[in-house]
């Protein structure tokens, strides 16, 4: 029998910590050391995490292939599987199937200015590409991150946000819907920051991920700034089960988000039936 595509590899959680009240980060390594050394993936690809007895679900690998000490997943507690996952601790076993799906075309982005636009946990896939680019910093032009959340407490990767802002070779703009008294950054929605900064589309690519409503208004703002459809890249969320294009549920027209995506340009999305 050929390889069973539903059979996960066994992995162990080596580190776990809270990002926000309902988002937890898990760092895992494959139990088979040779398999871990041989594990290859591209920024933007996803994996299926299993908690045997509860099920499995799809999450982006949010650490870059340039940092292979572990594979990182940041998970919001919303359903049965993620509730169970949040109860796991260091040393606990999980299953991992992946890498799955397509990836960000970082080759085509070389030499260009990159604008990351993220909301909430939508920063996770952007983090992979951002860290990959920072590890290959000379290949890319100006890098800007515009990131927003509901409140300061709901921002992910807080330590890194600070670190990135202090690097000097990239720009970080943070915004929240509801500020507290200690908040020293912007207030308001993410698309408004784009407009406010008057980001130039010249030789630039915008990469965006967040809640569907944020993505929609971000794309509108980018279009107003003069970004062409090919210059706007996003990565889609869909309910998935098999992750290999067979179970049917993540289709948009004839395309499957799990194999043809999750990364799409706005030009590609415009060619699909509008059912997101």
């Amino acid at each position: 029998m050929s390889q069973n595509p539903y059979m996960p590899q066994l992995a162990t959680i080596i580190e776990t910590f809270d990002e926000t009240p309902d988002i937890k980060t898990f760092r895992v390594v494959l139990q088979d050391e040779a398999a871990m050394r041989a594990f290859r993936f591209e920024p933007g690809q996803v994996g299926q995490l299993s908690v045997f007895g509860t099920g499995e679900s799809t999450f982006v690998i949010c650490s870059p292939p340039t940092r292979m000490d572990y594979l990182q997943f940041s998970v919001m507690r919303v359903g049965e599987l993620t509730h169970r996952l949040h109860t796991l601790r260091e040393g606990d076993p999980v299953g991992l199937r992946g890498p799955l799906g397509n990836h960000f075309d970082y080759e085509a982005m070389k030499g260009k200015d990159i604008i990351f636009v993220g909301g909430g946990l939508g920063l996770a896939p952007l983090r992979t590409l951002l860290l990959f680019m920072l590890d290959n910093r000379a290949d890319y032009g100006k890098i800007t991150l515009i990131y927003g959340g509901r409140t300061p407490e709901h921002l992910c990767f807080k330590d890194e946000l600070k670190e990135w802002a202090e690097r000097g070779d990239m720009r970080v703009e943070l915004t929240v819907d509801n500020a507290d008294k200690n908040w020293q950054h912007r207030t308001g929605v993410v698309p408004a920051v784009l407009t406010d900064l008057n980001v130039s589309p010249e030789n630039a690519v915008a990469v965006t991920c967040g809640p569907p409503i944020m993505i929609r208004f971000t794309i509108q703002a980018l279009e107003k700034l003069g970004f062409k459809d090919e210059q706007i890249v996003t990565t889609l969320e869909r309910r998935m089960k098999c992750g290999v294009g067979l179970c049917g549920r993540c289709n948009i027209g004839e395309k499957f988000v799990c194999v043809d995506g999750p990364v799409f340009t706005q030009a590609q999305l415009k060619g699909l039936p509008q059912e997101f």
Binding site: M1, S2, Q3, N4, P5, Y6, M7, P8, L10, F52, G53, T54, G55, E56, S57, M76, V78, G79, T82, R89, G91, D92, P93, G95, P211, P212, E237, R238, R239, K241, C242, V244, G245, L246, C247, G248, R249, C250, N251, I252, G253, E254, V259, P273, Q274, E275, F276
Partner: protein
Amino acid sequence: MVARFLAHDALTAQAAAWARDYQLLAPVREGQAVVYRPWAKDMHPFLGRPPTSSAKQALLPQTENLLTYTYRKDHADLTKTEVFLAEPLPSEPTVVLGCRPCDARGRKLLDRVFLERGVKDPLYEARRAVTLFITVACQRMENTCFCHWTGGGPMSEEGSDVLLFEVAGGYVAKAATAAGEKLISALPEAPQKAQEELAALLASPVEPGSAPDLRQVPQRFLALFDNMDFWMDQSARCLSCGVCTYLCPTCSCFNITDENSGLKGKRLRTWDTCMSALYTLEGSGHNPRISRAHRLRNRVGHKFCYHPQEFPGAGDSQPEVSCTGCGRCIKSCPVSVDIRSVVLDILEKGENQ
């Protein structure tokens, strides 16, 4: 190939003989329905009309095991847990008795999904390789039948290993594959009279009537895609019960869930239905197919637009659709949604959209 004969009164004994060498799925009457059941003693196969359910369960069981897992706790250190995984058991050679040509053609369309789209499904592939179809050729069309729309026919042998033609006193059995030939090798040769009856039958087969030209359907479906009034109208009666998808010989969408029992359990694949709101409900609460209109649009779109887009037929011919025209979704729909009229409405209303 030699035409062989299976007498009506020898059917049950022959089924029992097949069941000795194979796992046999045979249609039996249960109340108003005719359903496939694994062979059991005192069973009487019923071949008198197309079974209520399709034969896809032979290739894609309603529930099947993808893997098993076992947790083991370290009794010296209770914080430590290990997990062990195991592959499912291999498939057993299976014979499906009494399906219809529309069911047998469903095999080709399931192959498209599980063997030809990208990743091969090894569980399907293994089961496919050891499953044989003994098909009853249709001598009349029911008013829900439309196999001739989809490239099939009441006596088509596509996908079958053996074809049974009913004649006086029994069936003339003709093998369509070498494996089928072997399956019927113990049957006596068909008598002259039965062979003549078969020749007459083949000379004047049931006339299915004309079929609409489906070449414009994909384009017109996409033209109508955003016209929610059209889809609300088409789905107004739909109850989202999903019977259309469960009985369909080509619907192949599945769910994956874990069934736990103490420290061990199974990861199962089960049939799913795109007619359910839960099918696409995301963790965040967002649902791209929030209404019955969206979901009916997906079911019809997948069969008559997305599938032909993915597997375009040759040149100017009718598109290959992911439907064999068996009519089960029409016959068993509790509110009489008729996929034929949805397709015809797409052809008509999509023209000037």
